[in-house]
C-alpha cells in the first residue's frame, strides 16, 4: 500500500521544528508501524538525508520506550497498543498519517519524535517503592496474598511507563502513571508500612515536575496501552488525602 507521512522534524531542543512530508510506496500489510518507519529511514539515508529519530527497543510492547502520536492519538488508533505492536494491516492504502512526539510541558523535546521523560524517573525515585533490604526477607510463602488481591496489584503493575497518558491528557497530567504505581504497591500487604509516605512523596514530586492537574477527561485510560484503569487515580487520591489527614500514619487494612 501507499502512505503519505507528515512527520515532525526537529534537530534538537533549541530547534524550532517543522513538519516534513514523505510518500512511501510498497508498504506491506505484515509490517509493524516501526518497521514501516525503518523502511522510510533506509530510503532517507540512501538519499543522503537524515533518518527520523524515534525511540524504541523491545518492539514487544513491554519496555515502554516507543511512543508518538499518530493522527492525534497517542500510540495510534488501535486500543491497548503501542506503536511497536501496531500493524500496517490496520491502515488503508492512501492513508495520510501525521506523526508527532508526545507534547507535554514536563516532557521536553529531544529530537524528531523523541522526548525527555526523565520527569518520570524523578517521580519514581521520590518513593515509588517498598524499602526491602536485600537479605532481610522472610520465606516468600509467609506472606499470603489472596489471588484476587495479587491480580489487582498486577493489573496496575503492568504499566510500562511510556508516557502516553500524559501526552493524551489535555492537562498533561501524570495521574494514571503515578496512580498505577501507588495502586500496585497499595494492594499488597508488603506495601502497607510505607503507603502514606509513598502517596505524599509521589504526589509532591509529580507537582514539582510541572505535570497538570486531573480534571477527569479520562483520555489517559482510553489511550493507555496496558489498559490501566483510572481506579488507580482514585486510589492515589484516597491514599494521599488519608496521608494528609493522618500524617505519617500507617493506613493499614484493605479496600
Amino acid at each position: 500500500m501507499k502512505l503519505t507521512l507528515e512527520i515532525w522534524r526537529q534537530k534538537d531542543a533549541n530547534d524550532k521544528g517543522h513538519f516534513e512530508t514523505y510518500e512511501l510506496d510498497n508498504v506491506s500489510s505484515h509490517m509493524s508501524f516501526l518497521e514501516m518507519l525503518d523502511v522510510l529511514n533506509q530510503e532517507l539515508i540512501e538519499k543522503g538525508e537524515e533518518p527520523v529519530a524515534f525511540d524504541h527497543d523491545c518492539r514487544e510492547a513491554i519496555c515502554g520506550t516507543c511512543g508518538f502520536v499518530i493522527n492525534g492519538v497517542a500510540h495510534g488508533h488501535m486500543k491497548r497498543n503501542t506503536v511497536c505492536q501496531l500493524h500496517m494491516r490496520t491502515f488503508n492504502d492512501g492513508d495520510h498519517l501525521v506523526l508527532e512526539p508526545w507534547r507535554a510541558e514536563a516532557f521536553p523535546m529531544v529530537r524528531d519524535l523523541i522526548v525527555d521523560r526523565s520527569a518520570f524517573e524523578r517521580i519514581q525515585r521520590a518513593g515509588g517503592y517498598i524499602s526491602a533490604r536485600t537479605g532481610s526477607a522472610p520465606d516468600a510463602n509467609s506472606i499470603l496474598i489472596p489471588k484476587d488481591q495479587a491480580e489487582a496489584a498486577m493489573d496496575f503493575a503492568e504499566c510500562i511507563g511510556c508516557g502516553a497518558c500524559v501526552a493524551s491528557c489535555p492537562n498533561g497530567a501524570a495521574m494514571l502513571f503515578v496512580g498505577a504505581r501507588i495502586a500496585h504497591l497499595g494492594f499488597l500487604p508488603q506495601g502497607q508500612p510505607e503507603r502514606a509516605e509513598r502517596a505524599k512523596a509521589l504526589v509532591a514530586a509529580m507537582e514539582q515536575e510541572g505535570f497538570g492537574a486531573c480534571t477527569n477527561y479520562t483520555s489517559c485510560e482510553a489511550t493507555c496501552p496496558k489498559g490501566i484503569s483510572i481506579v488507580g487515580i482514585a486510589k492515589m487520591n484516597k491514599d494521599y488525602f488519608n496521608a494528609k489527614l493522618f500524617t505519617g500514619g500507617n493506613l493499614g487494612g484493605k479496600d
Binding site: M31, G48, E49, P51, T65, Q85, R125, I130, I143, Q190
Partner: protein
C-alpha cells in the same frame, strides 16, 4: 592469560557458606570511599547497583535506554526458577543444580551452578518483599508452573510478564538507593571502552547519546552487566539496542572470552513474515506446558491445520521423546523443528514453521484456565499474526534468543582483568552449552543481589586503588580512540546503510553458525564475514554527526564489533569438535541424530585471548572438573 577459577575447597554444598564466612570485608565507613561503576541496569546490573548501594558503596550505573527500567530483562515472559519445593514434588537445591548442569550438557562449572541453585530461594523471598506480584493460588500461596528440562514444577511467574515485574522490583530498589544518595544513574549513556591502568580496570569511556559528548568515569571496580549478544544474528528475540560492544571492547583490553559459540536458539518464536522484519517475537516456552507441537505427517500437506485429521499429524516431540515430550530442553526442541522443516513438513507461508496446538488443553482445562495462564501471550500472538490461537494452532519457529557464552569469570565473577567483574547474561558461567528456561532471570538476580555483594569486598579490601589522574596518558588514549572510531565511521560516507550489512551478516551466521554447524560451513562463514567486514569499512553510510543524537552512529559502532565477534564465534565453533547443547556439529552426532559429546577432549571452557586487530586470537582452556555429578549422555527419551 592465567585462568584461575578460584573455586573454594570443601564439599559442594558448603563452598558458598564457607566462602562467605571467610571472605575479607570492607568496613562500612570505608565502603563510602569506593566508587563502583556498573554498566547495565537489567536484573544483574540493577540488582547489583541496589545491593551495593544498600551496603554503602558509591555506585554509578549506566544504561543506553532513557530509563533503567527499560533494560532488556523487562521482556522476559515465562518465569523464574527456585528450589522451594512448594509443590512437594521432590525438588531440592541439588536437583535444580543437577537439572541446570545436565541441561547445559555438562559444560558449566559445578561450583558456580550450585551456588546459583542455592541462592534461588533467597531470590524469591526478596522479590516478594519488594512487591513483585507473582501468580498465586486461591489460598494465597505462591503458584508454580513447569518449564522445559525439568520434571518438577518450580517456576514462579507473573502472568506472561515475569521479567517486567522482576525488573521493576530491582528498579524500585535501585531508585530507593538513588533517593538515599548512594547511586547515580546515567541514562542514554553508552559505554564505548574500558580504561585499564597498570593492568587493572579503573574506568570506562562513555558517550552521552543526546549531546554526543564523550567522557570518562573512574572507579575502583567496573561491573559489566550488559546482557547478551544474540543480535549478532540481526533477527533475534532481543531488543533492538542489545549489543555485544561493552564485552567486546573489554575483550580487546584483555578480558578472556569464553565459549562464544554457545548460543541458544529458542524453539517457540513467531516465524518471520518478510524481508523487512526487524526482530522476532518470542512466545514463552511456558506455552509448551499445555501446547502440543506437531507437523503434518506428509511432506507438502497444505491443508489448514484444523482439516488435518488426528492420525495424519506427527506430534514429533511426544513420539521421539516419550518421557519429556513437549517439555524437552530448548536445543532439542529447536533442532527437531529444523529437522521436520528440512524434511519438507514445515507449515505456514514460508514452510519454516511448526504448529503449537492448544486444542487438547482447552478441552481438558477449559478456555478460562488457558486464558488465565497465557492470556496476554495469546493476545500478542493475535495482534501480530491476526489469527486466534484459541481456535487455530499457533505457528512457531526457532529464533536466536540467548548467549550462554560471554566473558570468562572466576568464582568471584571477576574476569581476567583484575577489577573487571561480569554479571548476568554477559558472563559465561552458569549455563554451559544450553540454558534451561527460567534460569536467566534467576542468574541475573543471583549475581546482582546475592553474589557480587559478597565477592566484591574481597577485591576492594585487598587492593590499593589509588586515585586515577583523569589526564594521564592511559585515559587520554582510550578517550581519543573512542572518538576516533566514531569519526572514522562517519567519514566513510559510503553507499549502504548499517542495517544492510547487519542483515547480511545475520543471514550468514544463522545459516552456518546457528542450529547446525559444520567445519566446511564455518570456514565459509569466516571468509564471507571477513569480506563483508571489509566492504562495511569501505562503503557504509552513517549520516549526521557525532555531536548530536545519532541512532545510525550507535548502530554502526555495534555492528562493527559484531563482525569481529561473529568471526570469533565461528572460530570457537570450528575448534569444538563435538556436539553439546546448542552447539550441534553435523560431524558429531549419534546414529539417532542426537548430539554426541566428547568428554575426553572437550570437557572444558574455551577461553579466547585477543591478540590484535585481525590476528588469530589465542585459545586457552579451563578444564571442567565434575566431582558431584556423573557425566551422562543427555537423554530425554
Amino acid at each position: 592469560m592465567k585462568l584461575d577459577a578460584k573455586i573454594p575447597s570443601g564439599p559442594l554444598a558448603d563452598k558458598w557458606t564457607d566462602y562467605k564466612a571467610h571472605t575479607a570485608l570492607v568496613s562500612p565507613a570505608n565502603k563510602r570511599k569506593h566508587t563502583i561503576l556498573i554498566v547495565g541496569t537489567g536484573l544483574a546490573g540493577g540488582g547489583a547497583a541496589a545491593a551495593l548501594g544498600e551496603l554503602g558503596y558509591k555506585v554509578k550505573a549506566f544504561c543506553y535506554q532513557d530509563s533503567a527500567r527499560r533494560a532488556h530483562s523487562i521482556a522476559a515472559q515465562g518465569g523464574i526458577n527456585a528450589a522451594k519445593n512448594y509443590q512437594n514434588d521432590g525438588d531440592t537445591v541439588f536437583r535444580l543444580f543437577y537439572d541446570t548442569i545436565k541441561g547445559g550438557d555438562f559444560r558449566a562449572r559445578e561450583a558456580n551452578t550450585y551456588r546459583l541453585a542455592e541462592v534461588s530461594n533467597e531470590i524469591i523471598d526478596h522479590c516478594v518483599a519488594q512487591g513483585v506480584p507473582f501468580g498465586r493460588e486461591y489460598s494465597g500461596y505462591l503458584a508454580n508452573r513447569t518449564f522445559g528440562g525439568a520434571q518438577v514444577s518450580r517456576t514462579f511467574y507473573s502472568r506472561g510478564q515475569t521479567g517486567q515485574q522482576l525488573l521493576l522490583g530491582a528498579y524500585n530498589s535501585l531508585n530507593a538507593q538513588v533517593n538515599a544518595g548512594n547511586v547515580d544513574v546515567f541514562e542514554r549513556t553508552e559505554m564505548l571502552d574500558l580504561i585499564v591502568i597498570d593492568g587493572v580496570a579503573r574506568g570506562i569511556v562513555v558517550r552521552d547519546m543526546v549531546s554526543g559528548e564523550v567522557s570518562s568515569h573512574f572507579g575502583d571496580a567496573v561491573l559489566l552487566c550488559t546482557g547478551g549478544y544474540s543480535n549478532v544474528f540481526f533477527l533475534s528475540t532481543s531488543a533492538k539496542g542489545c549489543n555485544g560492544s561493552a564485552v567486546w571492547r573489554a575483550y580487546k583490553r584483555g578480558a578472556g572470552f569464553a565459549n562464544p559459540c554457545f548460543t541458544q536458539i529458542h524453539p517457540t518464536a513467531i516465524p518471520q513474515s518478510g524481508d523487512f522484519q526487524s526482530k522476532l517475537t518470542l512466545m514463552s516456552e511456558s506455552l509448551r506446558n499445555d501446547g502440543r507441537v506437531w507437523v503434518p505427517k506428509k511432506a507438502g500437506d497444505d491443508r489448514p491445520p484444523n482439516e488435518i485429521p488426528e492420525d495424519e499429524r506427527d506430534y514429533y516431540l511426544e513420539r521421539i521423546y516419550p518421557s519429556f515430550g513437549n517439555m524437552v530442553p530448548r536445543d532439542v526442541a529447536s533442532r527437531n523443528a529444523k529437522n521436520v522443516c528440512d524434511e519438507g513438513r514445515g507449515i505456514g507461508p514460508t514452510k519454516r514453521g511448526v504448529y503449537l496446538d492448544f486444542a487438547a488443553a482447552i478441552e481438558r482445562l477449559g478456555v478460562d484456565v488457558i486464558k488465565d495462564r497465557y492470556g496476554n501471550l495469546f493476545e500478542m500472538y493475535e495482534m501480530i499474526n491476526d489469527e486466534d490461537p484459541y481456535t487455530t494452532p499457533m505457528m512457531i519457529y526457532p529464533a536466536p534468543h540467548y548467549t550462554m557464552g560471554g566473558l570468562w569469570v572466576d568464582y568471584d565473577l571477576m574476569s581476567t582483568i583484575p577489577g573487571l567483574f561480569v554479571l548476568g547474561e554477559a558472563n559465561f558461567s552458569d549455563h554451559g552449552a544450553n540454558r534451561l528456561g527460567a534460569s536467566a532471570l534467576m542468574q541475573g538476580l543471583a549475581d546482582g543481589f546475592f553474589v557480587i555483594p559478597n565477592t566484591l569486598g574481597q577485591y576492594i579490601a585487598k587492593g590499593k586503588h589509588p586515585d586515577v589522574d583523569p589526564n594521564c596518558d592511559e585515559v587520554r588514549e582510550v578517550e581519543q580512540g573512542a572518538k576516533d572510531l566514531n569519526q572514522k565511521l562517519l567519514d566513510i560516507k559510503g553507499t549502504k546503510t548499517v542495517d544492510y550489512f547487519h542483515r547480511a551478516m545475520g543471514m550468514i551466521m544463522l545459516d552456518k553458525c546457528g542450529m547446525a554447524r559444520s567445519k566446511e560451513g564455518l570456514n565459509e562463514a569466516i571468509e564471507k564475514i571477513r569480506e563483508l567486514k571489509k566492504k562495511f569499512w569501505a562503503d557504509v553510510k552513517v549520516p549526521g554527526t557525532g555531536e548530536s543524537l545519532n541512532q545510525e552512529l550507535e548502530k554502526a559502532g555495534r555492528v562493527a564489533d559484531y563482525f569481529d565477534l561473529a568471526i570469533l564465534m565461528c572460530l570457537d565453533a570450528r575448534e569444538r569438535e563435538e556436539s553439546c547443547g546448542g552447539h550441534f556439529r553435523e560431524e558429531h552426532k549419534t546414529e539417532e541424530g542426537e548430539a554426541r559429546r566428547d568428554d575426553e577432549n572437550y570437557c572444558h571452557a574455551s577461553v579466547w585471548e585477543y591478540m590484535g586487530e585481525d590476528q588469530t586470537p589465542q585459545a586457552h582452556k579451563e578444564e571442567l572438573i565434575f566431582e558431584n555429578v556423573e557425566l551422562t549422555q543427555r537423554s530425554y527419551k
